[in-house]
């Protein structure tokens, strides 16, 4: 003790330190309790924890399905926790570090290559081969996003795609024929120009320009339709600095810079309100927006094509996944069982009709009664459902994709704002992407 006293460290200080440490121990003891409360329960059944981001109708339909599952599967209990989907990965990472991940989490498909690096993510490759799962019944785009390097890391949770939503009234006023299924980007550009009227601040179309992935994936659909590819087949080099890349950027440039027929939305929040106020003729957007367009008479058509290319009418999809985390074999098995049940055709049918989310299974998407019900509730849905067949490719499933996306966002925005010529922007972005890929 004398040593402490000499060093200016009194007994009182020591006592204080002890008090602090005791407090820490008490808190730590409280902290470990939570993990043991779920898991194998006393009646021999299993409790699993699922993190989802559903609100409103989705939350209601999901809760119904969960209670139905619990009722038909005695001993199985599913605890759901609402987490805003934007933050789920962040929270899952923390939970994984803390040793208590959920058994299942709803995670965005764009995270999949990075999610695959988490050691506790369960490999579902064998699970989806089980009888009754019918993996090939999921849409191509969904399966692509759930698979990383040949390993299945998720079960599809949501699917969408981009199509053209147009204002029928504005088309009639401009004396234009509504877009047909065989239309081209040339038609789109010409219509956009005719739909533009600066006097009443009316635009032919709109584009979101924060430079984020929302900016990028709209363009990727154009690139594919023009017959282009983002990266080389082995994902080692940029491949978009091509004739197709140039054609796609020229299409955007013509509308944004030359014709000024494109409303640029830097905040990614205004375009929907403007379309619903009859200020925008055509939008390239997804099914999630349709229910909000209550003030205008709209139609939905597939994306235009580039004639003379092999691309045809394509679109892009941003599917999301249910990902399973390893909390011991009993809970993993229970989680797999629940997901197989949840994503089977019967449940998919119920969820799609109740919520207006597109069917995640092809068989449900081809079920005429489901399509009719959904299209009656929200007109135009049937086009979005059949358009899922036009999802022929997926974004590269590599961990560097977020970095590539940033480079592409800059490329697209610089062209839209007239700051770069398409070819110069393509070359600069391709060089950056090559560097990103080379760095690994």
């Amino acid at each position: 003790m004398a040593v402490f006293a000499k060093a200016g460290f009194s007994k009182a200080h020591l006592a204080g330190l002890l008090a602090v440490l005791t407090g820490a121990a008490v808190l730590a003891a409280c902290g470990t309790d939570s993990t043991s409360s779920s898991g194998n329960n006393s009646s021999g059944g299993t409790t699993i924890q699922i993190w989802e981001g559903y609100t409103q109708v989705e939350a209601k339909a999901f809760a119904h399905l969960v209670s139905q599952y619990e009722a038909t599967h005695p001993g199985q209990k599913v605890n759901t926790l609402y987490v805003n989907s934007d933050n789920t990965l962040q929270k899952v990472l923390t939970a994984v570090r803390g040793g208590s991940p959920p058994d299942i989490a709803y995670l965005y498909g764009s995270w999949a290559p990075n999610v695959a690096q988490i050691p506790s993510v369960v490999n579902l490759t064998q699970v989806v081969k089980r009888p009754g799962v019918n993996w090939d019944d999921f849409w191509t785009g969904e399966r692509a996003v759930a698979t990383v390097n040949g390993k299945v890391i998720g079960i599809p949770a949501l699917v969408d795609n981009l199509a053209v939503v147009y204002n029928k009234t504005l088309f009639a006023q401009a004396g234009l024929q509504p877009p047909g299924p065989g239309w081209t980007w040339q038609d789109f550009v010409a219509d956009a120009k005719k739909l533009t009227n600066p006097a009443v601040k009316q635009y032919g179309t709109a584009y979101v320009t924060p430079g984020t992935e929302d900016t990028v994936w709209h363009w990727e659909a154009l690139l594919w339709e023009a017959g282009g590819q983002l990266l080389s087949a082995d994902n080692s080099k940029a491949a978009f600095d091509s004739a197709a890349g140039l054609a796609s950027l020229n299409t955007l440039r013509t509308m944004a810079v030359t014709d000024k027929s494109m409303y640029l939305d830097p905040s990614d929040s205004a375009y929907g309100n403007l379309f619903n106020s009859g200020k925008i003729g055509m939008l390239v957007t997804g099914p999630w927006d349709l229910a909000t367009f209550s003030n205008v008479k709209y139609g939905v058509q597939v994306m235009p094509a580039y004639p003379g290319t092999a691309g045809g009418h394509q679109t892009i999809s941003g599917p999301d996944n249910w990902v399973v985390f390893n909390n011991g074999s009993a809970r993993t098995a229970a989680a797999e069982q629940f997901l197989i049940w949840l994503t089977s055709a019967t449940q998919d049918k119920y969820f799609a009709v109740q919520t207006g989310d597109l069917p995640i299974r092809q068989s449900v998407g081809q079920d005429a009664s489901v399509v009719n019900q959904m299209n009656t509730a929200v007109p135009g849905m049937s086009t979005f459902i059949s358009n899922l067949g036009n999802v022929k490719q997926a974004r590269p499933q590599i961990p560097q994709y977020p970095k590539i996306s940033t480079a592409l966002g800059t490329m697209i925005v610089s062209v839209l704002l007239g700051k770069s010529q398409p070819q110069a922007a393509l070359s600069a972005a391709a060089q950056q992407v090559d560097q990103i890929l080379a760095a690994g």
Binding site: G16, L17, P210, D268, L417, K419
Partner: protein, 296 residues
């Protein structure tokens, strides 16, 4: 001291009482601070358990990253405009409201309301005010013959729109601080100045303003620290765009961490920002001390 006396001593009970608070602060404050310091020397994506130490590579990368240079410029430009701007607007409104007029309580509430409005509503309102095609600001510009501006769509204007947005948002805070300080200015001093022949402006400039200097120093330091950590308004309105024009340091470190999974690099940026904040705050206190007048 016997153990019995130790347990009864005031210091012991003092520490015992504060220990839960201390533990919580250590747990949620000190642990992340230390952990991110460690991470800043690692290549760490928080996903894979493989987190090799890379020495000072993250810090060296930072010096050569052109976006970091841009982000520093934007952060400094923003701070230099935002801090004095908010203080001036706040002082003006506080001085205008520091008198006995009708409905004064209402005006004061209104001024403070900018603090109560959530940032998301504030951002939405400003996005529409400054919309190039449909915004009120461009409408007024057209009335007085000023050319139409692109605002948030223009790399050279977007940052200034964010400056205005945040000045508006923080005005209420500055008003409340200045109003409280103004009420502490003894009336006999301004009266004495008036008797000595000082006009209202001179009395304000020579008597009131020096007496407000502690409040001004507090505001300058507080607003600067906040300005250097700008994030919400950028995230909600431009997401750093167009073409990085509104990418400030905290927004950039957010994209590095949570969009690109470079947690090691993001931690290095965070520590770099921490250093900038410390240096600026120390300078402010040093310089401020010379101009600050404390009555005691």
């Amino acid at each position: 001291m016997t153990p019995r006396r130790l347990l009864q001593s005031e210091q012991f009970s003092g520490w015992a009482f504060v220990s839960p608070g201390v533990v919580i602060i250590l747990l949620f404050g000190a642990v992340p601070i230390v952990w991110s310091a460690v991470m800043s020397f690692q290549r760490n994506n928080l996903l894979s358990p493989d987190t090799p130490f890379v020495g000072t590579a993250n810090y060296r990368k930072l010096i050569h990253d052109p976006v970091v240079v841009q982000a520093i410029q934007h952060t400094l430009i923003y701070t230099v405009l935002f801090v004095p701007g908010t203080m001036l607007v706040g002082l003006f409104l506080a001085a205008a409201m520091n008198r006995k007029i009708r409905f004064i309580a209402f005006y004061r509430t209104v001024a403070y309301a900018t603090m109560a409005v959530s940032t998301i509503s504030e951002a939405i309102v400003f996005i529409w005010l400054f919309d190039p095609s449909y915004g009120v600001v461009n409408y007024f510009f057209s009335l007085i013959g000023v050319p139409q501006q692109q605002f948030l769509n223009s790399p050279s204007e977007a940052l200034y729109v964010i400056v205005m947005m945040t000045i508006w948002g923080w005005t209420g805070f500055a008003v409340v601080i200045y109003l409280a300080a103004l009420q502490g200015v003894p009336q006999h001093l301004t009266e004495a100045a008036a008797i000595d022949g000082a006009g209202p402006w001179q009395a304000f400039r020579r008597v009131t303003l020096p007496l407000l200097s502690p409040a001004s120093l507090f505001l300058a330091v507080w607003l600067t620290i906040n300005a250097l950590q700008l994030f919400d308004e950028v995230y909600l309105s431009t997401q750093g765009g167009p073409l990085n024009a509104t990418t400030v340091l905290v927004y950039y470190l957010y994209t590095q961490a949570f969009q690109q999974f470079n947690f090691g690099y993001a931690s290095a940026i965070a520590y770099f920002l921490f250093l900038i904040i410390i240096v600026i705050t120390v300078i402010q206190f040093r310089v401020g001390r010379r101009f600050t007048y404390y009555r005691s």
